[in-house]
Subunit: 204 residues, 2 copies
Amino acid sequence: MKIYDGGRAPNPRRVQIFLKEKGIEIETQQLDLNSLEHRSPEMLAKNPVATVPFLELEDGTVISETIAICRYLEELNPDPSLFGESSLERAVIEMWNRRVEFGFFFRVAQSFRHLHPAAAVLEGEQVQAWGEKNNALATQYLNILDDQLAKNEFIAGPKFSVADITAIVAFQFFKPARVIMPDEGHDHFRRWADAIVQRPSMEL
Amino acid sequence: MKIYDGGRAPNPRRVQIFLKEKGIEIETQQLDLNSLEHRSPEMLAKNPVATVPFLELEDGTVISETIAICRYLEELNPDPSLFGESSLERAVIEMWNRRVEFGFFFRVAQSFRHLHPAAAVLEGEQVQAWGEKNNALATQYLNILDDQLAKNEFIAGPKFSVADITAIVAFQFFKPARVIMPDEGHDHFRRWADAIVQRPSMEL
């Protein structure tokens, strides 16, 4: 199998960290997003929705969507589990991964895509007011994460999971997205982030 | 277990259809979204991100997020499978469900939330230009779905799946979202939609 990747963009980063946490190596071809290589006819024939990364299997089947890729690789390589080991654990991890995707990761990404001039090539018409709304919502969501991390070592409970990967990648994208981390407060979130960035999987 | 539900809003509808397809009955309490009952202190204590629907288990554990709820119920009630039976089938279904969520369902929802005056109570500050952008993108996505349905009976392949539920609920929300179905073309999409709405699970 082969991954068509997109460098340091947030979704590529999520899969890269996931693979390192699992100890999986897969042949990778980098696509240059700024020159819209992911939208070339050759790549659109593989993945018509033009997202990165995507996984191409030996028989030519393409799996796009970060979480679909990660869950498929988890099924082939169950240990260590990053999606949960029981039905209930899987439900709680999926809930938190989705909460973080929609409430935090997506907000940070929208702030980047609508406020950063370099994102215009990807976004087309940028909507300033939408970027600003998401910028504020991303910062607000730190309260939800801080409350959760006051009671739990990791985002979805006592174990590191795919939800932590989603959250740390969003946090590390604050700067290009122009989201400001408040100077004070959010101590539980800071404790969590300081620990996560030490993991070997986070090395660039 | 008990579901805290939100009437005919799109995510509640997805879970309602899923339950009927599976033949599962669960005690349900309706929350009135227009009076913001889902944001009452009692409900925020259960689900701090204030989404509907959410599932409360006997031990008090809350599972929010439509797809986390559906996947958990699928694990407890495997037949008929709506998330896939093999690793590869599950990957393709998750890919298509997510493609439809981000490219279609979400676009329709954003069009509603930013263009319909009645959505202001849920959205707060509405961003007209963002609503219009999503309105156009929802219509454009019909091309992706039509291409896929030219080659497949259902959205994710030869079997009805959760991806069909996501897509039909988005399509049925076109009117409140002010998305216009083009008068001509998209014949494969129309064939699919005409068949899906006949399913007993679609009855209101």
